[in-house]
Structures are given as structure tokens and as C-alpha cells.
Amino acid sequence: MSEIKFTNEHECIKIDGDVAWIGITKYAQEALGDVVHVELPEVGKQLKKGDNLAVVESVKTAAEVYSPVDGEIIEANVDMENNLELVAQLVSEGGWIAKIKISDASQLEGLMDEVKYNEYTENLD
């Protein structure tokens, strides 16, 4: 069983056992506009919760993507570099930027589910 969680920085996370797939939400994509470059993390890199995991660059700005948990990067979506349209796909499909092996599963507890995240973004507009 996997589930999808959301951060208030607009990352979306597919939790698949002890692995977290990280992408950005539809809300974030719409705010960014056309994506022109993605800077992926190196496999093997150790991250703390809140560390910079990747950078999604749109025409106008460079948006940092933060790690929602402590862990190690076990895979980066290299296809995304050459096919930026993948950014817009669901995190559970082609839209994941990187996969992290979760060190501390308790850090997932504060994340929002889809209903809460939708409420959260409605209040931002």
C-alpha cells in the first residue's frame, strides 16, 4: 500500500514502504509556469529534513524542492532532465524527481493528506 502526502512547501510524496518518492504539486507547477530546467540530486547524498533536494527552474524563477524527511537519495529521475513535461505528471507516475530511503518514518506524521492540502491551497489564493 502506498499513500500520497503533501507539504506546505508544495512537495508531494508517494510513501512506498521505507521509500519516499518526491515531486511537486499541481498547485506548484501552475504557480511556476513553464518549467525549463530541473537540477537533480546525486544518488547517495544524505539529506536532513528541510535540506535542498532539487531545483525546478521555470522561465521566471528557480524554485527549491526540500526533502520532507531525513534519508539517502537512492534514485534520481534522469529522464526528467530531457523530458521536462514529466514534472507535470503525478508523483506516482513520471512526476517523481528523486526517491529517498527514509531514515525516520516519524517525520512523515505531520504531512497533509490530499483533502487537507487542497484546503490549505484554497486559503492561499
Binding site: G33, V36, E57, K60
Partner: protein, 375 residues
């Protein structure tokens, strides 16, 4: 509170993504997004609302001499309808603003006098420019702010056709950087200038607020014309290597450093900042504005350091972004003159990493403006 142009409701109804620019709530892009809009202008034609820009008239005997005091360009021998890109300089030779000044062809809107110029100023600078100009202007001259006028730009290869379908005019004899007076369907006078900020053939139209919406709608009914936001206007100008005020030029950069020598007259000597500008013309400036193209992956942005092969900081970027035409990142910045050579290999430091880059001739993409034949 933000300010609005007369087309504000139109943009909202077109579902534009709006954003603040120079105090105005302006369309950044419409439904299709920046990249598609950019490429549309390069292939067809785009319509831009630039009514936030300042429009003034300076008239009276001696206006041309006065313009040669506040800019380093020559105006006395300019013929009617001729437009000149130039800069307002301060006493230190820095740039207060860049602007376009046009000697007005026989217009019925304004009283007759030999010396009369139409001036378009950057939105973010217009108040300070007007104050500066007034404080130096002889009492015999008269300045009028055209606050009841809008400004729209129609740019791209289909612009001529759309213009002639919508407005009573014949632009077949209108050269690049020249203006003529046309008529709206209801007989209102429109200043039509063959110029722009995109590198495409096209026009900027100054027209009374009350007809802006109907002319705008008229253009959008023409084949191949779409509304384009300010974000694509920025990427289009970046591909041309045109400077953006407040980024690529400011009150510390001289026109020589900014690589705008071509606007500096050899004949005039009375302009502000003459000593610095002449000194730099003969000795060379220590830094120079250049075009830069990234060879490695990444996006160059304003503020990033430029480094040499030995990792010395040799300059910084003042503009940067993604070029939709080239599908890679380009920018411009100031670099030590020793490195300001076309083809020079350099690095742009992107978040701590050096990305390979090259000093590049501008425009990055070939301009398609009509030739500037003498009239």
C-alpha cells in the same frame, strides 16, 4: 494599491496571469504560457499592452538642443518622424533611464512649432525622469504628459497585415525607427512607430485611452495575432541583447560600459556626464556589458557571478533566463574588459557550481526588423 492600464479588465477577461510591474497590475502571460507566447511572436504576431510606460511631449524652439543636454545623442538634424533610442545621463555619466525620442511628424493634436518631440519612458522610471527633465528644462520649453494615452505594441511578421487591416494607414514606406500618424476607424489620431523590443518587425502605437480597447480588440480579430504578456516580452528582448533598465543599466553604468557607444554623438559636447563618457570612449571602460550563453545545463539569472578559468570573479550577470528560440540559457552581464571578447570561455556560478559559458555576440537570435533606409 496597484495602478491599472486602460486594458486591465480586458487582460483579466482573457484569463491572464497578472503580476505587479512598476506599480501596475500587468499581464505576465495568458493561457498558453510564456514559451508558447514567445515562439508565437517569432512566427506570427503578438499584441502587448505597454500602456504603463510614460509618454511625454517636449516642444518649443530649442527643444533639440535641450535633448542634446540631457542625452548623449544628436537631435538637431533629425528629420520629422525619426525615432532615436538613447539614454538620460546624470552628471556622473550614469544612466537615469533609457528611452525613445521621436521628432513628431505633422500632427494636428498639438500646436505647431518647429521643435517637437514625442518621448517614451520606462514605467518604473517615468516619475523620476519627468522630475529630472523639468528641473533642467529651460522655461521657454513646454512639457506635456500624455496621461490620457495608451501604448500598445504589435510585433511579428504578421504585424503589417494586421495593422493595415485595423487602422487607416499605409506603412509600406515606413522605415524601421520611424513614425507616422494614422487614423482609427473613428478618425482619432494614432502615432505609429515602426520599432519595438522584440527584434521582430512591428509597431508601437500611441493612442487616446478611449479607443485603446477597440483597437486592441480589432487586432485580436486579425489572423495570427495573440495577446502576449510581459514575461515573453522580457525573454524576447533578452534574445536581442537589449538592456533592461534597473538590471542591465542603471545610474552607475555609463553608456560606454553598457556597450551603447552607437547612441553617442560625435558632434555634441554639452550633455551630462560628457567627461566620463569621452574618457571611456578614448581609454576604454574597465568593464563592459556582454551577451553570455551557457554551454552547460542550467539557467543563468540576474546576480550570478561570472568567473574565469582560474575561478576569479570577473563580473556578474544582470539579466538571464531561458531562450525559447535557442532552447538553452542566455544572459547578459558586466565583465572585466580583458575577458569581454566574443568567444571567450568563462563560467557562470549557479548555486555554487561553475557552469561553462561563453561570451556571445548579440543579438543571440537574428533580428527581423525592417531595414532603416534614409527617408
Amino acid at each position: 494599491m496597484f495602478r491599472k492600464t486602460v486594458l486591465h479588465d480586458t487582460h483579466v477577461n482573457l484569463n491572464a496571469k497578472m503580476g505587479l510591474f512598476a506599480g501596475y497590475d500587468m499581464p505576465l502571460y495568458y493561457d498558453e504560457g510564456v514559451i508558447k507566447e514567445h515562439l508565437w511572436v517569432r512566427e506570427s504576431a503578438g499584441l502587448f499592452d505597454v500602456s504603463h510606460m510614460g509618454q511625454i511631449i517636449i516642444e518649443g524652439a530649442g527643444s533639440a538642443e535641450f535633448l542634446e543636454r540631457i542625452t548623449p545623442s544628436e537631435f538637431q538634424s533629425k528629420s520629422n518622424g525619426r525615432a532615436q533610442y538613447t539614454v538620460l545621463t546624470n552628471e556622473q555619466g550614469g544612466i537615469i533611464d533609457d528611452l525613445i525620442i521621436t521628432r513628431i511628424e505633422n500632427s494636428k493634436v498639438f500646436t505647431d512649432s518647429d521643435d517637437k518631440f514625442f518621448i517614451v519612458l520606462n514605467a518604473g522610471c517615468k516619475e523620476k525622469d519627468i522630475e529630472w527633465i523639468k528641473s533642467h528644462m529651460p522655461e521657454t520649453l513646454c512639457m506635456t504628459c500624455l496621461e490620457d494615452h495608451g501604448l500598445i505594441a504589435l510585433q511579428g511578421s504578421l504585424a503589417v497585415k494586421a495593422l493595415e487591416e485595423t487602422i487607416q494607414c499605409d506603412v509600406s514606406e515606413l522605415s524601421y525607427m520611424h513614425m507616422m500618424v494614422g487614423k482609427s476607424p473613428c478618425g482619432e489620431e494614432i502615432f505609429i512607430s515602426r520599432l519595438g523590443y522584440t527584434g521582430e518587425d512591428g509597431f508601437e502605437l500611441s493612442l487616446p485611452n478611449k479607443i485603446v480597447s477597440s483597437v486592441w480588440e480589432g487586432f485580436l480579430r486579425c489572423e495570427g495575432v495573440k495577446p502576449i504578456g510581459l514575461a515573453a516580452r522580457d525573454s524576447l528582448r533578452l534574445e536581442m541583447g537589449f538592456p533592461l533598465y534597473g538590471h542591465d543599466i542603471d545610474d552607475t553604468t555609463s553608456p560606454v560600459e553598457a556597450d551603447l557607444q552607437w547612441i553617442i554623438s560625435k558632434k555634441t559636447k554639452m550633455y551630462f556626464g560628457y567627461d566620463r563618457i569621452q574618457g571611456e570612449l578614448s581609454e576604454g571602460s574597465s568593464r563592459k556589458r556582454v551577451g553570455i550563453k551557457l554551454l552547460g545545463k542550467g539557467i543563468a539569472r540576474d546576480g550570478y557571478e561570472i568567473r574565469s578559468k582560474s575561478d576569479e570573479i570577473i563580473g556578474s550577470l544582470t539579466s538571464g533566463g531561458f531562450s525559447p528560440s535557442l532552447k538553452s540559457s542566455i544572459g547578459q552581464g558586466y565583465i572585466d574588459r580583458a575577458y569581454a571578447n566574443i568567444g571567450e570561455k568563462i563560467f557562470v556560478n549557479v548555486r555554487g557550481r561553475n557552469i561553462e559559458a561563453e561570451v556571445t555576440k548579440t543579438p543571440f537570435v537574428m533580428a527581423k526588423t525592417k531595414s532603416m533606409k534614409k527617408k
